[in-house]
């Protein structure tokens, strides 16, 4: 193992998480490649990226489950390599896969995890009750966890992670595979926790969830390709403009447009075609001409503000 504790001279008490050139290799594969970012205390920080982009590996390093190959990270003032035990008592973690005991009931799971975090006796009883109410688990306390629906399971996992009142909550795709209503309820919970001062570090695939974060980092193939607030990313970090075309048939249009050089990105959004162009003045007429030549009817064509997805796709490409 190479050096994994660079001096974090820049640590400030306002930071909940600092990563500096954090890298992790598995053999020759570089899962996380010299990434640096900061999470301020009290914010909801969205960590975005496709599957296999390095999100979970990064989280495992922050929790001290994996050692960095190089670089360093500091969580709540402690180095992740040297003091993981200090970090663990102040952090709550909800993993990607449901990982409480399905053969225990709700209360038994909460009791076990509460005590695991050294919360005992009356304090445990009080906090467990608060967590059960907060997470909407009233009425299923004695239910075997295996029998709970997906949304309940996720809220139970969250409840188990907050019994020790963590300063930082790390959630790895907590809403993957959960229905839209349950997703919205879950995010309401995260907002309540953030309002109480808990820092939230959350990974997600969903752009609507990303929009709800205070700040975002987008990781792609182990590299961070964009960071900032959602509006900052949309307004300032897009290279080129998004042209939205309503035409018929859109699939054929996509084929035509892909043959045009200098267009950064062409993609289908429902029945609409999105094209990213560096020079709208020159390229829009070119697009219209190409579609007309192919006898594709254009119902409307306009430059629109980019969505987060537009930015991330554009950033991921280059």
């Amino acid at each position: 193992m190479t050096t994994h504790h660079l001096p974090l001279t820049t640590y400030a008490p306002d930071d909940a998480v600092i990563a500096e050139n954090l890298t992790r290799k598995f053999g020759k594969f570089i899962a996380v490649n010299t990434i640096s970012f900061r999470v301020a205390r009290g914010e909801i920080f969205g960590f975005l990226g496709p599957n296999g982009s390095g999100k979970t590996t990064t989280i495992k390093m922050l929790l001290g489950l994996l050692h960095p190959t190089s670089g360093a990270a500091n969580v709540l003032g402690y180095d992740v390599v040297h003091h993981p035990e200090k970090i663990r008592s102040m952090v709550g973690y909800v993993s990607q896969k449901f990982s409480l005991y399905t053969d225990l009931n709700v209360i038994e799971n909460l009791n076990f995890y509460g005590r695991a975090y050294r919360v005992w006796g009356k304090q445990l009883d009080a906090r467990r009750q608060i967590a059960i109410e907060l997470a909407g688990l009233v009425g299923v306390e004695r239910e075997l966890t295996a029998n709970l629906a997906g949304g309940f399971k996720q809220r139970l996992a969250l409840a188990a992670a907050i019994l020790h009142e963590p300063q930082l909550l790390i959630l790895d795709e907590p809403t993957a595979g959960v229905d839209p209503v349950s997703r919205r309820d879950f995010w309401k919970l995260l907002y309540r926790l953030a309002a109480q001062g808990t820092t939230i570090f959350v990974t997600t695939h969903y752009m609507d969830e990303a929009e709800q974060c205070h700040r975002l980092a987008f990781i792609h193939e182990g590299h961070i390709v964009a960071t900032g607030t959602p509006s900052d990313i949309k307004e300032k970090q897009m290279r080129g403009s998004v042209i939205e075309i309503d035409c018929d048939p859109p699939g054929r249009a996509l084929e035509i447009l892909r043959q045009i050089e200098n267009l950064d990105e062409t993609a289908l959004y429902g029945s609409l075609v999105h094209v990213v162009a560096r020079d709208v003045a020159a390229q829009q007429p070119q697009i219209e001409r190409a579609l007309r030549d192919a006898q594709i009817a254009i119902k409307s064509i306009a430059v629109i503000p980019p969505s987060l997805e537009d930015v991330f796709i554009a950033r991921a490409k280059g």
Binding site: L66, E85, S99, Y101, T102, D103, F112, Y113, A116, R118
Partner: protein, 369 residues
């Protein structure tokens, strides 16, 4: 720290109580195993074919033969007239046991203070059957002696001179049952310990445990405590069943038997933990337990006495905790051996315990979550 360990052990207990398969394994296997042994060693054996060569031809010898016949255990098939005839009957498998009453048997018995010798030949091919045969002969003779000797008289012992026709080293009656005490505890503890970590790894719950402030040592101790609890509960219940259900007299020191049981259980927890760390699924872990169990039972001296094995097998047997513990059990329970007489088994067992637990701890500490 102790609260954390108890929290873990309690969680494991709750899970165990919900795991019907494992519970069945804990309850049914010992009951079935002991029951089968009981069937094989106790009342289950009836109508053993018997040959008698009565050279005495006295009233007493006839009573002895009648007593054997009436015991219900024997089916008197042949009155033999010579040793060769007796030998042939046993060798050909026509009888399972033969009793030779010497010419002066009743006279010897009548002489106060002397003991009469009664040669018995038993087919020892199946050690379980052989030991029950021996028991049946013993009890028939004991009944007879009680009948014929007044209660206040000094009971003249009848010295059974036993010859095992095919398994000359068959040693002591009941050793089979007592050995089960070790076997059943072994299976159970090994399985419980072997699935301990790999189960959580497979279900993804180990990672969730890893991010709590619970240390690796606490985790290991919590799981170990649970396995030790189950193992010793099982051990104690089996002991009670053997002692009072099967009425096999315990000749040794109970505290010693229990203390060495704890040592053995910890050794097997160490082995199980090692298996749990090197395997990737519960299925793998269970298969490894089965392979190991087959080897260790072979080496334990249950089927063939260890001291009769070739030297290289004896060498391997030295590395089996079960082999040492089986020997310890037989010695303490049946012979009443003290700790001083057992160092040659206790020291290797303690060393193996240290090695397995140490190796388990070392590997567990190095493993990435």
């Amino acid at each position: 720290m102790h609260k954390t360990i108890l929290n873990l052990a309690w969680k494991e207990t709750l899970q165990l109580l919900r795991d019907r398969l494992l519970l069945a394994f804990m309850v049914i296997i010992p009951v079935v195993q002991l029951g089968l042994i009981a069937e094989a060693t106790g009342a289950g054996i009836r109508n053993i074919k018997l040959a008698v060569w009565d050279q005495d031809k006295s009233a007493f010898s006839r009573d002895l033969v009648t007593a054997l016949k009436n015991s219900g255990d024997f089916n008197l098939m042949y009155y033999a007239q010579s040793y060769d005839e007796i030998r042939a009957l046993v060798n050909d498998g026509k009888v399972g046991a033969a009793v030779i009453i010497p010419p002066d048997f009743s006279r010897e018995l009548a002489r106060t203070g002397a003991s009469a010798t009664l040669p018995v030949i038993i087919d020892g091919t199946n050690s379980i059957v052989a030991s029950s045969l021996l028991g049946a002969v013993e009890s028939a003779i004991a009944d007879l002696t009680r009948q014929f000797v007044p209660a206040n008289a000094i009971i003249t012992p009848i010295d059974l001179k036993i010859e095992f026709a095919f398994n000359a080293t068959l040693n002591i009656r009941w050793s089979t049952i007592v050995t089960q005490l070790g076997f059943i505890t072994y299976q159970l503890v090994l399985v419980v310990a072997a699935v301990g970590f790999v189960r959580e790894r497979e279900l993804g719950t180990l990672e969730q445990l890893a991010v709590t402030p619970i240390s690796r040592l606490e985790l290991l101790l919590g799981k170990g405590l649970m396995a030790l609890g189950i193992g010793m509960l099982n051990y104690t219940l089996l002991y009670l069943a053997i002692r009072y259900g099967f009425e096999i007299p315990m000749r040794g020191n109970l505290a010693l038997l229990m203390a060495l049981g704890v040592l053995f259980t910890i050794a097997e927890i160490g082995v199980g933990t090692l298996l749990s760390i090197v395997t990737h699924s519960q299925q793998q872990a269970i298969l490894m337990v089965f392979m190991l169990a087959m080897l260790e039972v072979t080496f334990s001296g249950y089927l063939v006495p260890t001291e009769n094995m070739p030297w290289f097998m004896q060498t391997i047997a030295n590395f089996s905790p079960l082999q040492h513990f089986s020997a310890i059990l037989r010695a303490v329970y049946i012979k009443g051996s003290s700790l001083e007489m057992l160092w040659h088994h206790v020291i290797p067992l303690a060393a193996l315990t240290g090695i397995t637990v140490g190796a388990g701890w070392y590997l567990f500490n190095r493993a990435e979550w």
